[in-house]
Each structure stands twice: as structure tokens, then as C-alpha cells.
């Protein structure tokens, strides 16, 4: 990623705003941007969604392939997430092989979905030991104005919940909806001007410190956590964030489940 211009000036500005508990775009500390979720937006994907949060726009597409089950789990299908943060989505993203940031994005989104158990892997089995469905989730950034993590996670669940297993095209039975039993949701917090804020803008990310990502399931069970970038936080700070994440994840879940 390119070095952001003049981060020190930006940091000073963000600290001054924080003193009055303000943010760049006038939001409260834990106020998210409006989230718009659309599904069925990609004609060639078996499930798809577009999520817009302010000037951050992402797509998610679900494709299916037939795989040979792993020898230790002959009756299980597979699930794979790949995050594409191509240079189309912002001046700071460069061309080339996936950056560590893009790989982290894909892996954190993947973990939240996988560990929640929302996809029944046994249900993806076609012929034990020989054939099973592999669900491939591709998340793709169109416009990055911060918090790609939450945008990706939201789009991912909206796409999975509308995905159709293309049995007829692969000649292995009828088309049927991909069973998704839960809706894990992610909330991300960045340290900006000394305190944590929810749903950071790109400029808040550049001028901010460490970040924390929390994925919660329907029953508020924790399914993935990730702390990124340099910095240290206290248990009290984490408690405050977790409390907010519980209510916000529920709101996002309602949005995705309609």
C-alpha cells in the first residue's frame, strides 16, 4: 500500500476532533454510516450482493465447484473465501499479487463465517469420498472509503443467503438454495484520536492506530476476533466495544435477513 500523504497532520487533526468527541464526518463515536444491501446484482454468480456504506462500495459473489472431499472428512464439502482488493477501488491500493492487508481481509471474513457453522458442510456432500460442493465466496472492493472488513462481511452473508446450488448445470440433481442457518455479522473498531470509533472512514484508518474486528453469531456467540496494526488496548475498552458490537450486529443481521 502506498504511504498515505502527511499522516502526521491528519493525526493531529483527528486528535483535536476527538477532544470534543467529534469525527471527520460529524458522526458519533459508535454511529455507523447508512448501510444499503442489494442482492442478485451479478448475473454470472450463483448468489451475489452489493453493499454500500457511505463511499465504500463492495460486491460479493458466490460460485460453486465440484471437489473431491478431503480424506479425513469424506462427507464434507468445502468453503473458501477470496478477497480481491484491486487497484480500481482506491489510489492507495496497488496492482500485483494480493497484499498482506487483502489476505488478512479475506481470512478474517472467512473465519467468521466458517466458525459460526452457518453452512452445513455435510449437506454439501454429493457422493461420500468422491464428490462434494465447494462454495467459493469472492468479495471484491469497488470503492474503498474505509471499513472494507464490515462491508465485505455484510455482502458475504447477503450473497450466501441468496445462493442457489447449481445442481442442474453440473448434472448432479436439481438446483436448490444453499442452506445457511445463521447470519454471523462483523463490527470493526479503530483507534482514532486516542479512543475507539466504529465504522472508520479511510482517512480515520490512515490517521488512526490499532483496529479490532468482532464477528458475532445470531445468539451473540463470538466466532472470530482479530486485532490488527500496532497498538495496545485495555480490557475496559474491549468491554465497551463488545457491548456496542452486540447491538450493532443485531441491526446489521436484520438488514441482511430482511
Amino acid at each position: 500500500m502506498a504511504t498515505p500523504p502527511v499522516p502526521e497532520l491528519l493525526k493531529t487533526h483527528l486528535s483535536k476532533l476527538a477532544e470534543n468527541d467529534e469525527r471527520l464526518d460529524g458522526r458519533d463515536r459508535f454511529e455507523g454510516r447508512d448501510v444499503i444491501v442489494e442482492t442478485g446484482v451479478l448475473a454470472r454468480a450463483e448468489g451475489s450482493a452489493r453493499v454500500q456504506m457511505g463511499d465504500t462500495i463492495v460486491l460479493a459473489g458466490v460460485k460453486f465447484q465440484i471437489m473431491t472431499p478431503y480424506p479425513d472428512r469424506p462427507t464434507s464439502g468445502g468453503f473458501m473465501t477470496s478477497a480481491e482488493v484491486r487497484p480500481v477501488c482506491g489510489v492507495h491500493w496497488e496492482a500485483g499479487p494480493p497484499s498482506p492487508e487483502a489476505i488478512e481481509l479475506g481470512r478474517v471474513v472467512d473465519r467468521g463465517i466458517r466458525e459460526s457453522g452457518c453452512i452445513d458442510m455435510e449437506d454439501l456432500c454429493i457422493l461420500p469420498g468422491e464428490k462434494a460442493w465447494q462454495v467459493i465466496l469472492d468479495v471484491f472492493a469497488l470503492s474503498d472509503d474505509g471499513n472494507l472488513f464490515d462491508a465485505f462481511a455484510t455482502a458475504a452473508m447477503a450473497a450466501l443467503r441468496t445462493a442457489i446450488i447449481p445442481g442442474e448445470r453440473f448434472d448432479v440433481g436439481e438446483d436448490r438454495p444453499l442452506p445457511v442457518s445463521k447470519t454471523p455479522m462483523m463490527c470493526s473498531y479503530h483507534r482514532v484520536g486516542g479512543r475507539f470509533v466504529y465504522d472508520a472512514l479511510r482517512r480515520e484508518e490512515i490517521g488512526g492506530g490499532e483496529r479490532i474486528h468482532i464477528t458475532l453469531g445470531d445468539d451473540n456467540h463470538v466466532h472470530s476476533l482479530q486485532k490488527g496494526l500496532k497498538g495496545a488496548f485495555t480490557a475496559a475498552e474491549f468491554d465497551e466495544i463488545m457491548e456496542h458490537a452486540r447491538s450493532r450486529c443485531a441491526e446489521l443481521r436484520d438488514l441482511v435477513n430482511n
Binding site: 448475473a43 458466490v62 484491486r86 469472492d138
Partner: protein, 241 residues
């Protein structure tokens, strides 16, 4: 080029599988300014094709060895998203996308006034979101609109259209189904005002007469698409005259 001669793709009245006549292009819609963080952007929806272009710059060109002392370099990337086709595409560059990126850059360099920005770089990112035959043409068209949306000075805008041949009949703008049985493909990039060509490829088999018809079909499609490009730019930039 499949060349399966026994599949009927055009009926006795000259109507194609999707109801078009031979010289007709698919429905097209164009929007500019669709990526808020980009300096310029556009989407071209051409039939089922959905292609997005973003422009960043002019900006400092680095590493320094890519700089040109007398002009800007156009850094063009054409890429197909993994979910853009029926069978998923593995992410990453391949020979096809590199070639398309190269010829697209050369087409756009012919109209962008690069000499106004010596030692700088203009990034043009073309992403195919949904593919249905003719993505390179839609990409060039989208990139032209995105460059204009970014306010990059150009002598002209490039519109790209392809014609081809199915069942021995020359037709304009093949869709995916027709392309699978296509016997020739002639994509062209034409400057809207001057009528000059800045992009040209061809493969397949065309007689001199067929070649002329394909050429003429492409030329006829330029003006209506140019109108849509101008309209898109007016809508996104708030003008209406």
C-alpha cells in the same frame, strides 16, 4: 472461433437468437461517476456485459524508471472478476488480460493529451464484473468515459464495437451464444469525432465483401454509443445542455 456450421443461429428472416437484426447492437446503458473515491469512473452495461472503469491521476510516476520525460504514461489494467463468468476465474493476471491491457493502453494513448503531464502517470483500471462476449470493447468504451469524467484532456473519445460472422452471415456485436459459434470477430476502436481508428483486432475468416460489411456495421454503431457517453457525462457532472 468454434465454426460449428450446423447450429441455426439466424432464422430465415435474418432475425438472430436474441431477436436482433444483423446490424443491431445489444441494449447499452452508460453511467459516469459511479466510484466515489476515484478521480473519474464509469460503467458500461452492454447486453449482459457489465464493465467498470476507474481513473486515478495524473500522479507522480514511480518507480522513476517508468517515467517519460515528455509525457504521461497510461497505466492500464484490464481484469475479469472471479465471478464474472459461468466458470469461476482464478484471480490474477493471465496472457489474455495482459494483451488486452496493452492494446487498450495504446488505443487510449492515441487520444489522451499525455504531453501535458510529463513524468506523471495516469492509472486506468478496467474491471469486468459480468462477461458476455465483447468485454474488451466495453472496457475501452468505459475507460474513455472514465477519463473524460476525470477531466483528463483528450482529442476525442474512443468507442469500441465488434462485428463477426455466424452461419456465414455477418452480424454486429455478437452475444455469448453467437460468439461460441462465431466464425470471425472484428473489434474496432473508433474516435467519435475524427472517425480515425485507434484499436483494431481480428480473427477468423472473412471474405473481402464480408469484411467490408463488418467494418461498416462497426462504423454505424459509433454515433449512437457516443451520444450515450456524452449523456452519461452530463448526468454525472450536472450539465444538461
Amino acid at each position: 472461433m468454434g465454426g460449428y456450421g450446423d447450429v441455426q443461429m439466424i432464422d430465415d428472416n435474418g432475425i438472430r437468437v436474441d431477436g436482433r437484426t444483423a446490424g443491431e447492437i445489444r441494449p447499452v446503458s452508460i453511467n459516469a461517476g459511479i466510484i466515489p473515491v476515484a478521480d473519474g469512473s464509469a460503467e458500461v452495461i452492454w447486453g449482459t456485459n457489465h464493465v467498470i472503469a476507474a481513473v486515478y491521476g495524473p500522479m507522480e510516476a514511480h518507480p522513476r524508471k517508468i517515467q517519460k520525460q515528455d509525457r504521461a504514461v497510461l497505466d492500464v489494467r484490464y481484469n475479469m472478476a472471479p465471478f464474472s463468468t459461468t466458470d469461476r476465474i482464478r484471480p490474477g493476471f493471465n496472457r489474455r488480460s495482459r494483451e488486452i491491457s496493452k492494446v487498450t493502453a495504446e488505443a487510449l494513448e492515441s487520444v489522451v493529451l499525455t504531453e501535458l503531464y510529463p513524468r506523471s502517470k495516469i492509472r486506468v483500471e478496467i474491471e469486468v464484473i459480468t462477461a458476455e462476449a465483447g468485454t474488451r470493447c466495453a472496457g475501452i468504451t468505459a475507460a474513455s468515459v472514465a477519463l473524460a469524467d476525470a477531466g483528463i484532456p483528450m482529442t476525442d473519445m474512443v468507442i469500441s464495437v465488434a462485428s463477426g460472422k455466424i452461419n456465414g452471415v455477418v452480424v454486429c456485436d455478437l452475444n455469448k451464444e453467437e460468439d461460441n459459434y462465431g466464425e470471425a470477430d472484428l473489434p474496432m476502436g473508433v474516435c467519435a469525432n475524427s472517425g480515425e481508428l485507434v484499436f483494431l483486432q481480428m480473427d477468423g475468416d472473412l471474405s473481402p465483401e464480408e469484411f467490408q460489411i463488418a467494418w461498416d456495421y462497426n462504423m454505424e454503431a459509433i454515433a449512437p454509443v457516443h451520444e450515450m457517453m456524452i449523456d452519461a457525462l452530463k448526468r454525472s457532472n450536472g450539465g444538461d445542455e
